[in-house]
């Protein structure tokens, strides 16, 4: 009887749940067929490596990833994981990457601020010493940290791909303030800047100019370096960065599910047997 009620309620919900069409909403990102989607999805290591390269050569100039350390690149499931080095701190590739960076440190003898080559235990260095410097360098807009960006936006990696590859010329009639760029996938409201006919276009303004260009990043594995490919790869890399234990989680979950289903079957058999002689 309660079940009927729930069905009724769900029906009622379906009736009232019309799509909310608020003015100034952003365009929904097109779903990308990422390898890590779905219950058995895994990261494509080649894609993560390409994505890291895009991050490093394009994004890292302005965006920090404070929660990541170089060792993360070599951990299980990471872009440069090598089964020969189960301890990511020993991974020579990771060590090389880390050593290419100069890390601020304090000389333990003199107390002076020094720079030393990075080690695998070091966190990714932030391009700016503090928030004020980051804002000053970017026309007042703070480039957000990218560590968990793929979890901090609706649609996650699909959104990142759509935003990065989705810059278009602003439609005629849209006034774009200097230092701002129109992007249909950016959240915001274009209505105050709209002088054209009808509804203001979807999307919003972003302080980041278009970053990707064909062949801007050279992929070592020969993948054609299109804007779309770069956007996909960096989105995949950022998703890995936000959820590095995803493969472990899904594998654990797969085992847990099988166990629980068998367990439920055993309990059900036991239950039927115990209750078989009770009329109720």
């Amino acid at each position: 009887m309660l079940r009927k009620g729930i069905a009724l309620a769900a029906l009622g919900l379906a009736l009232v749940a019309g799509p909310a069409l608020a003015a100034g909403s952003a365009k929904s990102p097109e779903p990308v067929d990422f390898s890590f989607k779905g219950p058995f999805g895994r990261f494509d290591q080649g894609q993560l490596q390409r994505g890291y390269k895009v991050y490093r050569e394009v994004c890292a100039a302005c965006h920090g990833m404070d929660l990541l350390s170089f060792r993360n690149l070599g951990q299980k499931g990471g872009p440069f994981y090598d089964p020969a080095y189960p301890n990511p701190n020993d991974n020579p590739y990771v060590k090389t990457i880390a050593a290419e960076y100069q890390i601020n440190d304090i000389d333990s003898e003199t107390g002076d601020v020094i720079q030393r080559p990075g080690t695998s235990a070091d966190a990714f260095p932030n391009p700016y010493p503090n928030e004020a410097a980051a804002r000053a360098g970017n026309g007042g807009a703070m480039p957000p940290d990218l560590s968990v960006m793929a979890k901090a936006r609706k649609y996650g990696p699909d959104y990142i791909h759509a935003l990065m590859a989705g810059y278009v010329d602003p439609p005629a009639g849209l006034q774009v303030t200097p230092g701002q760029y129109y992007n249909p996938y950016m959240a915001g409201d274009t209505t105050p800047f709209w002088t054209g006919e009808g509804h203001a276009p979807k999307g919003g303004f972003i302080a980041m100019p278009p970053q990707l260009a064909a062949d801007k990043v050279t992929f070592d594995d020969g993948t054609p370096s299109t804007i779309d490919q770069q956007a996909k790869d960096v989105a995949a890399f950022l998703y890995w960065a936000a959820e590095p234990k995803m493969e472990e989680r899904k594998a654990f979950g797969f085992g847990a599910m099988i166990y629980l289903v068998i367990f439920a079957g055993l309990l059900y058999a036991s239950y039927r047997r115990i209750w078989r002689n009770v009329a109720h």
């Binding site: 068998i262 055993l266 047997r273 115990i274 002689n277």
Partner: protein, 184 residues
């Protein structure tokens, strides 16, 4: 059977059928419950082990030119004190001479420093008894003396007298140059 037990509190084990198969289902279900709890216990235990960032703690580089002959510098390494001591020839000679003496944890002085670097004694400065930090140059053997429970170490860091069971441990380290050492 059903009509005879209506309204009773029937014993689930009293009904007909093969008793072994019946019991097996209940035992299997019970075992699955115990197994589930057992498997889930491991993550809750393992989470207290050192985490990945702790395991990745950086190694330490140290400039040996700061240590005067016969003196020691203590630095912190992985949360513990690290003794870096420059021994005098007299101290080295005394330590080598004692190689044959009776001690709780016999070890040659040669095995406790890098070849050809006998003056440099690098040790983890935690007493092997209960972890206090021994004081420099104290005790009967001129090495270290632990004030907590009276363990005497010689200048090679070997336990000679007192409750400590083993010598002061030697960490992994390497000489990057004559004046620079990297620990860890």
């Amino acid at each position: 059977m059903a009509d005879t037990v209506v309204g009773e509190n029937p014993d689930p084990h009293a009904a007909g059928e093969d008793p072994n198969r019946r019991d097996f289902i209940h035992i299997a279900a019970g075992a699955a419950a115990v197994g589930a709890v057992g498997v889930m216990a491991w993550p809750f235990i393992d989470q207290m082990n050192p985490s990945a960032d702790t395991l990745a703690l950086a190694s330490v580089e140290f400039d040996l030119s700061k240590v005067a002959l016969g003196q020691q510098v203590t630095i912190k390494w992985r949360g513990k004190p690290l003794f870096i001591r420059k021994r005098t020839d007299k101290e080295i000679a005394a330590a080598v001479a004692d190689d044959t003496a009776s001690m709780p944890d016999p070890q040659a002085d040669e095995a406790r420093h890098k070849p050809g670097k006998a003056e440099w004694m690098i040790l983890i400065g935690a007493c092997t008894h209960l972890g206090c930090v021994p004081t420099f140059a104290g005790g009967d053997y001129g090495g270290w003396f632990c004030p907590c429970h009276g363990s005497h170490y010689d200048t090679s860091g070997r336990i000679r007298r007192g409750p400590a069971p083993t010598n002061l441990p030697v960490p992994d380290y390497e000489f990057l140059s004559d004046t620079k050492v990297k620990v860890g």
